[in-house]
């Protein structure tokens, strides 16, 4: 089930090292982009069913690969005043101003203590480009839709409404998150207001 083109990382550190060591930081984006393109080309599977998975702490999450534009190492962001804690600020993505959201903070309220090993996934959601700060990229999975289970009411730190489902892969559990729901503009605005009050 799991994809071997990207290499199977056993733990988060390796994934981080992979991105850092193979290419200098500014080339990382191209590399990862090419990488995902190669994967798309080399495989005859339906790209719709491919998910990129990443870790936050010990938990593994997945998002459809087609929403991912590129993956970059952590870069300094410019904080936006009076926004929720999970908004890490904005960064310069080749001349575009892109907001970066801290997924850990969004799920648990606890800010990520960023290091050079942290990774930002640049995703395109409903015409907007956003950055998602995660601990590490883990894998690319081709997931059979039939095997996606509805999210149970477990002790996951993430609210069920942001989950598309759960999938078991090599005895790991991957939670498929719905990023557009997670950072729906209305919700963001609502939260900003709450924060301001």
């Amino acid at each position: 089930m799991s994809d071997t083109n990207l290499a199977n990382f056993e733990d988060d550190d390796e994934a981080g090292l992979f991105l850092e060591n193979i290419a200098p930081k500014n080339e990382t984006e191209n590399l990862t982009k090419n990488m995902s393109e190669n994967i798309l080309l080399s495989q005859s599977v339906d790209a719709d069913r491919q998910y990129i998975t990443f870790t936050i702490g010990t938990e593994e999450y997945g998002t459809p690969i087609l929403t991912v534009q590129e993956i970059r190492g952590w870069m300094k962001t410019t904080p936006l005043p009076n926004t929720p804690d999970y908004v890490r600020g904005v960064t310069n993505l080749r001349g575009n101003i892109v907001p970066v959201f801290d997924l850990r903070s969004r799920f648990s309220g606890e800010n990520t203590d960023v290091t050079d090993r942290h990774v930002v996934i640049m995703a395109e959601i409903e015409g907007r480009t956003i950055g998602l700060l995660v601990d590490a990229i883990s894998d690319i999975l081709t997931i059979d839709e039939a095997k996606i289970q509805p999210p149970p009411t477990t002790n996951l730190i993430i609210d069920n409404q942001y989950l598309d489902g759960l999938v078991a892969s090599d005895e790991r559990m991957v939670a498929l998150i719905n990023v557009s729901k997670l950072f729906d503009q209305d919700i963001i605005e609502k939260l900003s207001k709450q924060q301001a009050n």
């Binding site: 936006l80 926004t83 904005v90 001349g95 101003i97 963001i188």
Partner: protein, 736 residues
Amino acid sequence: MDQFKQTYFEECEDRIQDAEEGLSMMLDGDLDKDTVNRVFRAIHSIKGGAGAFAFNQIVDFAHEFETVLDFVREGKLTPDRDMCTLFLRSNDVVAEMLSLEQSKKTIPESIGANLLEELRTITSSMKGESAPAPSSEASNNDHPTSENFTWSIVFRPHEDMLKTGNEPYFILQALKELGDLKVTTETDNLPSLHDIHAEHCFIGWRLTLKTSAPEEEIREAFDFVEDLCDLEIAKQNVPPGDLPERRKAENRRDSDTPQARRKEDRDAQENAPKASKSIRVDLDRIDQLVNLVGEMVIAQSMLQEQVRWLPPEVGGKIGEGVEHLTRHMRDLQESVMAVRAQPIKSVFTRMPRIIREVCAAVGKDVRLTTFGEDTEVDKTVLENLIDPLTHMIRNSVDHGVETPSERQAAGKEPYGTIELSARHRSGRIIIEITDDGKGINRSAVLKKAQEKNLIPADHQLTDNEIDNLIFKPGFSTADKVSEVSGRGVGMDVVRKNVTSLGGRINVASTPGKGCVMTLSLPLTLAVMDGMVVSVGSQRFVLPTINIIESFRPPHSAVSKLSNGVNVIIARGDYVRLVPLYNIFGIQDAVLNPEEGLVILLESDNGEKLAVMVDDVLGQQQVVIKSLETNYTNVKGISAATILGNGDVALILDVPGLSSMNASIDIIEEYQNALKAVGQIKITPTKKGGKTDEESAQEEDNKEDESAEANETNAIEDNEDHPPKDEDAEEGKLTHE
């Protein structure tokens, strides 16, 4: 085919405006030949194109319209004001038909039916007066003939004629309608199949046309292709076998028929200046250019920043080069912006039509005068200006100007006047809409606002504040919901649109005399001059245009009002002071105003505001990048930009900042925090995200800083500290 239609509609838009301008001049009594010709030409071209696309209703209407205009052109008819109004309305009808055709809707018969009737009445009365005109075509009446002539026509399109969207078939068809047509195709020039170019036209036609129509009408069929083909038109009075030597179209023009000569004049006027002065460029290409220049501005500021760190022996020459580059970049950027800049005329010329429509709907008489139509502004701004301006004009007619009877009762002229003006002022465009109506009924506005809970009942407002209540969401004073305005979604939407362009809107009213609505918009949405300032480890950009001066105030200049608002004395005025570290929650900023800098700002409506920052880092051009593209708007921030080191800096929104101070109750928040630890003393604090220990510690620091302040002051006094911002920047550099 659709793309040709698109080009046609685009051209028609220009022509309609052209005609409208000309007609407006005629309405004001300018019956100069050039003016009338201009209108005639515009309508004639529209008709011609409409014929090619078989928009028959447009052709019919434009034809009647053109016929009447022709009388005016020939001086047989002198239009009075009413007739000019009729022409203007006819022009509107043509515009409406075109827009219906463009959106592929069918044109209802009713549109323009009565106008058509009126035009026909004029035509028939003119015919009665002028020389007998047996021909069905009114415009031919100086060529009265019912005799059938045989014309021989040679029509050889140039290779690239098809590229311009002209279809020979339609031309031939148009000729066929004139009479009996025989067509022979010339294939002499047809290359072998191998060499043939699919987009070129290699064939020509020899035509024999038996018709009663005059030459002008035959030529009309070739109106659009005249320059794109070899055309010979000759009257045939000898058998086709031995034709007289063919004369080229150019020669033919030298012939003696008055039509040909007049046509020549017309063509000369029409083609000569246009062809040489302008080209049509796809907007995408210009946008690409603007983006590239934007990137170059960023790269250049990066270079500039790096050069500063070079040792002087290396950096000197390079620095000089960078200076040159900077200057050229600025010129380049201005030139590119100038390409996008367009006169506001194109928006202003839409307004008379809107006024006529609204006047007809509400039974009012309003005259419009415009000033500064040649004021130029960026195309994006221009496009986004149409809706708000339309709405404001409708509003002025509907709510501002009274009915003729009301006006007479108030001792005014029965017709109202709306003045629309545009001018540049300090890097912005100012548009004013002035009406001489009844002004804003302040008591009604106030009552309505209180009824709708838009303002607290006991709130005291100045007259100006009351006037500006009309921009509040959900506000509408119209008692009835009328077709024109009064749905209560009006002016707040206008303000929203204007604000999203980085503009401001303001209204000032004099009861009984009318009101003035002022719009202030940036000239471009792409680049601006900014002052980079630091607050803690963060950098912000202040629009240079808003900056009056920067200075280091003594503690005695800063004081706090009982309502918690900090104020500062700047040149004798008390100005609200906003510490940026406070409203933006920045932790590591300079807290002592004597160590930081206070920058005095003026927003577009003249309101003054002072902000406290750590330092001024320099002045540079910044490329404006919207935050809303990928995120949402943030209060106090108008946009973002990319600095020379690739970092993102936020551009401050000056009017937004001044409203922020009012929206945050620092004292209440602080007192709550104090209550928690049982402290009573009140000192400034940061908003949220800080432990009490930190606050207390800061307080100590602040006191220490105050103690040092006197010393600092003494030093400051020796160091001539000029108030001008550029100088302040220099002063700062010498510090280093």
